[in-house]
C-alpha cells in the first residue's frame, strides 16, 4: 500500500464532500435532528397519565383517595364524570387512559368491614403502559389503604405500631433515578452513528460508477486497499465530529451522567465508526448505484440497530433464538459499551469482550470490502 496514493484519494474525497451539500447535510444536520427527535420522542417513563374519576359516593373518603392519585407524579386527574357512559366516552376518545370508579357504598363498607374495593378501568391498547399504570395504581391504593387502617385503629383507641417482619431496602445502581432517558440516549448515539456513517460511505464508490469516473480510476495502478483507506479516512474524521457532537449533547443537554474515561470512549467509538463506515463502503462497492447502496445501507444499519442491539428492547428479554442472532449485530456491542461507559464508568478492561467483537467485525468488513472491489468492468 502506498501512502502517496492513499493521500491523493483522501484529499480528493475531502474536496468532493466539501463541495457536495448533500453529503454535508447528511453528516451534520441528520445527527442534530435525530438526537432531538428521538431524545425527546422516545421516552418509556410513565408520567402524568390522564385519569378519569367517577365518584358514585361523593364522600370524604372517596375524595381522599383521589387526592392520593393527584399527588402521585404518575397520574393526573383529567376528568370528573358522573356516569359510566362518560367513563366509556373518555376512554374511547383517548382523553383518559385510566379510570377509577368508587362504588356508592365505599365509606360504609370500609367502616363496617374494614375492606372496600374500587374499580380501575385501563386502556390496554398499549399493554406496556397499561401494565406500568396498573402497578402504580395498585401502589397508590395500597398507600391510601394503610393510611385508612392507621386512622381507623387510632379511632378505635388502639394506636398502631406499624410493624412488618421483613422489609426490602432496595438501592438502584447506575441509573439511580430509573430514568429511561439515561438508558435510551447512549444507545441512540449508537443508532445515529450507524445510520449516518453507513449513509455517507454508501455513496462514495457508487457515485464514481454512476459518474463514469471509476472507469478511469480502475485503469490506473491504484490498489483496492488504497482506494478504501483513502476514501474512509475523511469520513472517519466526519464520524468523529458527529460522535463528539452526539455524545456531548447526550451528556450536556440531556444530562445523562458520563462516568467513563474519554479515552475509552474515543477508542470504542472509533472502532464502531470503522465498522459502520466499512459496511456503507462495502454496500457501495457491491451495488454500484447510489440509490441502491444507500437504501441497503439504511436497511442493514437502522433496522438491526433499532430492534436487535438492545438500544430500546433489552436483549435478555428476547427469545433464545433471537438472542443468538443479536451476536451478529455489530451495534449490540457498541450499545452495551456506550451504556456502560456512560452509566457505570466501566474501564477498557471490563469492556474487553465487546471490544474484541468489534475488532473482529471491523477487520472482517474491511477485508471483505477490499476484496469485493474489482478493477474490471466485466
Amino acid at each position: 500500500m502506498n501512502l502517496h496514493r492513499v493521500t491523493a484519494i483522501a484529499v480528493k474525497e475531502v474536496l468532493q464532500v466539501w463541495r457536495d451539500p448533500r453529503s454535508l447535510m447528511i453528516a451534520l444536520l441528520l445527527p442534530f435532528t435525530q438526537m432531538f427527535l428521538f431524545g425527546y420522542g422516545v421516552n418509556l417513563d410513565l408520567q402524568h397519565l390522564p385519569v378519569c374519576t367517577f365518584d358514585r359516593e361523593g364522600s370524604q373518603l372517596s375524595q381522599d383517595l383521589f387526592k392520593h392519585f393527584q399527588a402521585s407524579p404518575y397520574f393526573a386527574i383529567a376528568r370528573n364524570v358522573t356516569s359510566y357512559a362518560d367513563v366509556v366516552a373518555a376512554i374511547d376518545h383517548g382523553t383518559c387512559n385510566f379510570a377509577i370508579v368508587v362504588p356508592p357504598d365505599f365509606s360504609e363498607r370500609l367502616n363496617d368491614t374494614g375492606t372496600a374495593s374500587v374499580q380501575a378501568i385501563i386502556d390496554a391498547t398499549d399493554d406496556n403502559t397499561a401494565n406500568i399504570a396498573y402497578g402504580y395504581a395498585a401502589a397508590v391504593v395500597e398507600g391510601y389503604s394503610s393510611d385508612v387502617t392507621v386512622s381507623w385503629m387510632n379511632r378505635q383507641g388502639k394506636p398502631l405500631q406499624q410493624t412488618q417482619p421483613m422489609v426490602t431496602q432496595s438501592r438502584v445502581w447506575f441509573n439511580e433515578d430509573l430514568e429511561s432517558r439515561n438508558f435510551i440516549i447512549p444507545g441512540l448515539v449508537a443508532m445515529i452513528l450507524a445510520l449516518v456513517g453507513a449513509q455517507l460511505t454508501s455513496l462514495t464508490i457508487s457515485r464514481e460508477w454512476e459518474r463514469g469516473t471509476m472507469e478511469l480510476l480502475v485503469s490506473t495502478p491504484v490498489q483496492p486497499s488504497e482506494v478504501m483507506f483513502g476514501k474512509l479516512a475523511p469520513y472517519l474524521i466526519l464520524g468523529w465530529v458527529d460522535a463528539a457532537f452526539c455524545l456531548a449533547l447526550a451528556a450536556l443537554w440531556f444530562g445523562v451522567p458520563y462516568r467513563g474515561t474519554l479515552f475509552a470512549l474515543f477508542v470504542t467509538t472509533s472502532l464502531f465508526l470503522i465498522v459502520v463506515l466499512g459496511i456503507g463502503y462495502l454496500m457501495s462497492v457491491v451495488i454500484r448505484s447510489q440509490v441502491g447502496a444507500s437504501q441497503i445501507a439504511l436497511l442493514v444499519t437502522m433496522l438491526p440497530t433499532t430492534l436487535l442491539s438492545g438500544y430500546i428492547f433489552p436483549i435478555d428479554q428476547m427469545p433464545k433464538a433471537i438472542q443468538t442472532i443479536t451476536y451478529l449485530i455489530y451495534s449490540r456491542y457498541y450499545v452495551s459499551i456506550v451504556k456502560d461507559l456512560f452509566l457505570k464508568g466501566s474501564s477498557l478492561a471490563a469492556l474487553s469482550t465487546p471490544i474484541l467483537f468489534l475488532v473482529v467485525y471491523a477487520a472482517a468488513v474491511l477485508i471483505l470490502a477490499a476484496r469485493a472491489f474489482r478493477k474490471r468492468l466485466d
Binding site: 496514493r5 491523493a8 484519494i9 480528493k12 468532493q16 459518474r211 480510476l217 480502475v218 490506473t220 474490471r376
Partner: protein, 321 residues
C-alpha cells in the same frame, strides 16, 4: 522484462476474442502498434472498438487470444500494464467538481509522480491543454474541447509510453478536433504509441495507420494511402449523365468493371485498371446509345472507402449466414 526494445511492437494483439454471453464483441482480431505510431480505430458505433481498448487496459478479460502491451500479457499482469499506459475513456471521466489543478494533482498522486517533479509536469499538462491560468477553474465550467484536452493531460502526466484514447474527439467542435490531433502528433513524435478510436471517418487521415472495424472484426488495416488504393480492390471512376438507370445496368455488364453503384446523382464504378477503362468505356456505352456527361477517375475519400468496405463486409456476412 525488456518492455521497450525499439524493434518490438508496443502493442501486439493476436487472435483476440471477447464474448458477452452469446454476443461476440471482438472476433479474432490481430494487429500491432509500433513505437511512436498512431493507430486509428475506425468503425460504426458498437463495432467493438471500445471493447478492444478496454481489454488492452486490463478492464475486460479476453475470452481467447493474446494481448501484449509494452511486452506484458494484459490478462496475466494487468497491474504492470496499468503502470505503463495512459487512458482516456469514451465517457468523460475526470472529476467535474474538482478544479483543473486538483484533477492533475490527483492523478499525479495516483501514478506516484515524485513530488519534486509534479509542479513541472502539471505545468507541462496545463500548457499542452491550453489551460494555463485556468488551473483554478472547476472542470464542470470548461467547454467540451478543453475538457478532452485536460483528460489527455491527465493521461500523459506520468509520461506513459503507450496511450489509449477512446473517441477523444467525439462531441468536440471541428477546430478543437484539429488541435487535439496536433497534440496527439506531438506526443507520437516523442515516441509515445497511440491507439485512438473515432467514429469520424475523415480522422483516419491523421493516423499513421488505421484499422477499420465492423461487427467485432478488423476488415481492413493499413496507412491511409494503402487503404485508399488497395482496400477497394480496384480504382474508382465517376460517371455522370442522363439515364443513370440504364447506364448502371450497362456498366455492370461492361468488361473490366468490378462493381458499380449509385452515389448521389452519379455513379461510382470500380474497375481493375482505370487507364484502360477510361479508354474503352465511352465506346462500350456509345454502342448502347448511352452518353456519359462526364467520365473521370476520382481519388476516393477514406469515407468512401470505409462505406464501401463496410457494405461489402455486410453483404459477405449475409451471404455467409
Amino acid at each position: 522484462m525488456n518492455a521497450s526494445s525499439a524493434a518490438e511492437p508496443q502493442i501486439a494483439v493476436d487472435d483476440l476474442v471477447k464474448r458477452f454471453g452469446q454476443f461476440v464483441a471482438v472476433d479474432h482480431v490481430s494487429f500491432s502498434v509500433g513505437r511512436g505510431e498512431i493507430m486509428g480505430f475506425l468503425g460504426p458505433n458498437g463495432a467493438g472498438k471500445s471493447t478492444i481498448i478496454r481489454i488492452l487496459c486490463g478492464l475486460l478479460r479476453p475470452s481467447a487470444g493474446r494481448a501484449l502491451v509494452a511486452g506484458i500479457d494484459v490478462a496475466a499482469d494487468p497491474e504492470a500494464v496499468r503502470e505503463r499506459i495512459g487512458y482516456m475513456s469514451q465517457k468523460f471521466s475526470l472529476y467535474r467538481d474538482l478544479s483543473v489543478e486538483e484533477n492533475l494533482k490527483f492523478f499525479g498522486g495516483i501514478y506516484r509522480v515524485p513530488r519534486d517533479q509534479l509542479p513541472e509536469r502539471i505545468r507541462f499538462a496545463t500548457q499542452m491543454a491550453g489551460l494555463a491560468r485556468r488551473e483554478k477553474d472547476l472542470v464542470s465550467t470548461l467547454a467540451g474541447g478543453w475538457q478532452q484536452r485536460l483528460a489527455l493531460g491527465c493521461a500523459v502526466l506520468h509520461r506513459p509510453p503507450i496511450l489509449f484514447l477512446d473517441e477523444p474527439t467525439s462531441g468536440v467542435e471541428p477546430t478543437a478536433r484539429r488541435q487535439f490531433w496536433d497534440l496527439i502528433h506531438t506526443l507520437a513524435a516523442d515516441g509515445v504509441s497511440v491507439l485512438v478510436s473515432t467514429h469520424y471517418m475523415d480522422e483516419a487521415e491523421y493516423c499513421h495507420r488505421a484499422a477499420l472495424i465492423n461487427q467485432g472484426r478488423v476488415i481492413a488495416i493499413g496507412s491511409p494511402e494503402e487503404l485508399r488504393h488497395t482496400a477497394l480492390g480496384g480504382e474508382l471512376l465517376l460517371v455522370e449523365g442522363e439515364n443513370l438507370g440504364s447506364m448502371l445496368a450497362a456498366l455492370r455488364e461492361a468488361p473490366g468493371v468490378l462493381d458499380c453503384s449509385v452515389f448521389g446523382n452519379a455513379l461510382h464504378v470500380l474497375v481493375g485498371d482505370a487507364e484502360r477503362s477510361l479508354r474503352e468505356l465511352p465506346a462500350f456505352l456509345a454502342k448502347r446509345n448511352l452518353r456519359p456527361g462526364r467520365l473521370e477517375r476520382i481519388n476516393p475519400s477514406l469515407e468512401d472507402v470505409f462505406v464501401q468496405l463496410i457494405a461489402n463486409d455486410m453483404a459477405q456476412r449475409s451471404r455467409a449466414a
